[in-house]
């Protein structure tokens, strides 16, 4: 019986991997999240004037997430100049540390927008399992790329993809 389960799940995984190659863009769901100041707003209301958007899930306790965001921060000015991309870093820290995120982000001098998702509502609605998990949205708000995990140097690849999206290329089929 266990063999059947493992086999079915392997098939499932294969199906999902195949599905990823030809996926059409999903849009952001209608979910309320908070700003660093505690104000509630709907994630569907984010807009970047037709330029790409990058949404990255992180938490204070996630080391690779902080490394990824440090890497994005180091390059943010250049990236914005070249592509107009806007980065939203969504913290899934629960009530233990929600109030700590604001002073932490300022202490780090991170330039991008940080949002709070303390009960994981957006994380759940976007089917995020493990963090870091990063999404790239095109100018029309379609999710065209997503990845999980962070390895040193990944930001270069992410930027290449953002450049392509800014130029209007379709990257949904690419690795």
């Amino acid at each position: 019986m266990k063999k059947i389960i493992i086999l079915s799940l392997a098939l499932l995984m294969g199906g999902m991997l195949a599905a990823q190659e030809t996926k059409q863009g999903n849009k952001l769901p209608s979910v309320n999240i908070k700003t660093l100041e505690g104000e509630t707003f709907n994630i569907q209301n984010i807009d970047n004037d037709g330029n790409p958007i990058l949404i990255s899930f992180w938490a204070l306790w996630c080391k690779p997430c902080k490394k990824e965001l440090d890497a994005y921060n180091d390059n943010y000015e250049d990236w914005q100049e070249e592509t107009g991309v806007k980065i939203y870093a969504v913290s899934i820290d629960d009530a233990r540390s929600t109030a700590k995120v604001l002073p932490f982000v300022n202490g780090k001098s991170w330039e991008f927008d940080v949002l709070l998702d303390p009960n994981g509502d957006l994380k759940r609605a976007l089917s995020v399992n493990m963090i870091p998990h990063t999404f790239i949205l095109d100018g029309e708000g379609n999710i065209v790329y997503q990845h999980t995990s962070y390895y040193e140097g990944l930001e270069d690849e992410i930027f290449e993809l953002v450049e392509k999206v800014a130029a209007g290329e379709d990257i949904s089929g690419k690795h």
Binding site: M16, D94, K100
Partner: protein, 558 residues
């Protein structure tokens, strides 16, 4: 049962394949995720695990698949879970499989309506928080209905009604309780146009939650309706931000508080000052008899209606996480202070890239408990008012103390490092039930360095030490990790209890892992020894037994 699993998995596969055919379905979208964690155990003489201990249970398997379907304003979904059997350290009651999470929802601009299972948090969670934490095997979702209403921007009302998940057990009439709650939040800057440009920002909120459970007790007269109320605010003035919440719960005798009739309360206050390059944070917290479960008889990690956020700094480095804090719902009181500072670039200390410094001090004590009146023989006597407690006095017992100093510095384009010193004092008697054992006082040192070999290949290594006279004595740990962006990682790590007073317990807990990531799919395989310990998320903990063997995890989103 086999047929049932196979056919339901076939349905999941069909639905996921639908995502390929999305073009034909117009505006509808299907997406989801799944994770499979498997463990294979074998005997290990050094760890004291014999074949008899394993007793044929060589396998542990936790898995789930979660699907969401969206069409315009309508969405629906489910999660399938299987624990066949649960991995060691997870509740045995999780054994089995099924669909514990099933829901449908309709959302418009001003209003949303959900039926089925849902998760919700009011404020900081002191009155209500239902959530899921896969790594803990924790899920207290409400099954019923949820309504939200936003009549104007800045004013949000929520209402919930339902019964909570309890592993695989279906709700029965005289079983666990029914939970009802309402919450309102007003953002004064949005609602009052005169305030929209003000430097002063204010958000106010309040909630009321009650549970109904029939009186099944033969010994005590139990209140069938227990109500909990909370008020909160979040205030910003320029660079300062203050937030606070106070919750009050009427009498709620339960197995957790040993059936006392004392009401409970909880208070959190946080303040921060932030400007570019500097963040200062302070928090005060007090809890007195605030466990709130929908079944008075349950003591395991289940059926909590509210969430009591812990205050102590959470650690993820191997040795720093050895003594993690568990929230004490019957009474605790503490404070935390943290400063995050970025030494500017091009300064003497900062160097070319700047340097980050973080200093955090947190401490939790017991609360003072005294006999409330002459009819009570001792503090906490069941069937009485239990105790009275002076709000402003710290108790004598230290539950946990943590001083963390972290410096992180990038030396060059290729080389960066984190240096960390931690001093911990941990009350192992209260936290883990080691009655009579003294508080553990430990000094911990960590060095974590990363070297970028090429733009895609990188190597990271860690050296850690934990020095203490108590419990298991001194530890040393080392880790090396090699990564090739964007796909591969390989890691070797070892934790060595070299300072244990018993020679036979000076064991190496070694592990080797490797993994592969392709976009949102991650596969990781680990072989080695897991040290006995505690895994805590948000102050909720589960015990992890020592084990030896293989661990595989596959996770994906689509």
């Amino acid at each position: 049962m086999i047929k049932r699993i196979f056919s339901t998995l076939a349905i999941i596969l069909a639905l996921s394949s639908m995502s390929v055919a999305q073009g034909f379905l117009g505006k509808s979208e299907v997406h989801g995720s799944f994770e499979v964690d498997g463990m294979y155990y074998h005997a290990d003489d050094e760890l004291g695990i014999t074949e008899e201990d394993i007793n044929g249970q060589t396998f542990g398997f936790n898995g789930f698949a979660d699907i969401i379907y969206t069409l315009d304003n309508f969405s629906a979904g489910f999660r399938y879970e299987a624990y066949l059997p649960p991995i060691a350290g997870f509740e045995r009651s999780l054994e089995g499989q099924g669909f514990p999470y099933l829901w449908a929802s309709y959302t418009t601009d001003k209003f949303s309506f959900t039926i089925g299972n849902f998760y919700e948090q009011f404020g900081n969670g002191l009155t209500l928080r239902t959530y899921q934490e896969w790594t803990l095997g924790y899920d207290n979702s409400l099954n019923g209905a949820r309504v939200t209403f936003e009549p104007v921007k800045g004013l949000l009302f929520k209402g919930v009604y339902g019964t909570q998940r309890y592993f695989w057990s279906k709700w029965e009439k005289n079983g666990r309780g029914i939970v009802k709650g309402i919450d309102g939040e007003i953002n004064l800057n949005d609602v009052f146009s005169g305030m929209s440009d003000s430097k002063f920002r204010l958000i106010l909120g309040g909630s009321a939650v009650s549970k109904y459970q029939s009186d099944q007790s033969l010994k005590y007269k139990m209140p069938t309706n227990v109500a909990s109320f909370a008020g909160r605010f979040n205030m910003g003035i320029g660079k300062f931000n203050f937030s606070s919440e106070y919750a009050y719960k009427i009498n709620d005798p339960s197995a957790i508080n040993k059936y006392i009739y004392k009401p409970g309360d909880a208070f959190i206050f946080s303040g921060s000052y932030s400007t570019k390059g500097l963040g200062i944070y302070a928090q005060f917290k007090r809890i007195d008899n605030m466990s709130f479960k929908s079944d008075e008889a349950v003591t395991s990690n289940a059926l909590d209606i509210n969430f009591l956020p812990p205050l102590i700094e959470a650690h993820t480095y191997m040795l720093a996480a050895m003594y993690p804090y568990a929230t004490q719902p019957n009474g605790e009181m503490g404070f935390q202070f943290e400063v995050t500072y970025k030494v500017p670039k091009k300064s003497k200390l900062g160097g070319k890239y700047g340097m980050g410094i973080t200093v955090n001090y947190s401490q939790m004590n017991s609360i003072v408990k005294e006999i409330p009146n002459d009819t009570v023989a001792y503090v906490g006597q069941p069937g009485t008012m239990g105790w009275k407690s002076d709000f402003f006095k710290f108790g004598d017992e230290i539950y946990n103390r943590d001083l963390t100093i972290e410096v992180n510095k990038k030396f060059s384009r290729k080389f960066k490092s984190i240096f960390k010193y931690i001093y911990q004092e941990y009350n192992i008697d209260v936290m883990q039930g080691h009655t009579g054992d003294p508080n553990i006082k430990a000094n911990i040192g960590i060095i974590d360095m990363t070297y970028k070999i090429t733009s895609k290949k990188s190597i990271r290594w860690e050296l850690q030490g934990l020095w203490t006279k108590e419990d298991k004595g001194d530890w040393a740990a080392a880790l090396i990790e090699y990564t090739v962006s964007p796909h591969w990682f390989i890691t070797i790590a070892d934790q060595y209890n070299y300072g244990n007073k018993h020679a036979y317990e000076r064991i190496h807990y070694y592990t080797g892992s490797f993994g592969y990531t392709l976009k949102t799919t991650r596969f990781a395989l680990t072989y080695g020894r897991q040290r006995e310990g505690v895994v805590c998320v948000g102050g909720v903990c589960r015990q992890v037994p020592a084990s030896s063997g293989f661990y595989v995890t596959i996770s994906s989103s689509f």
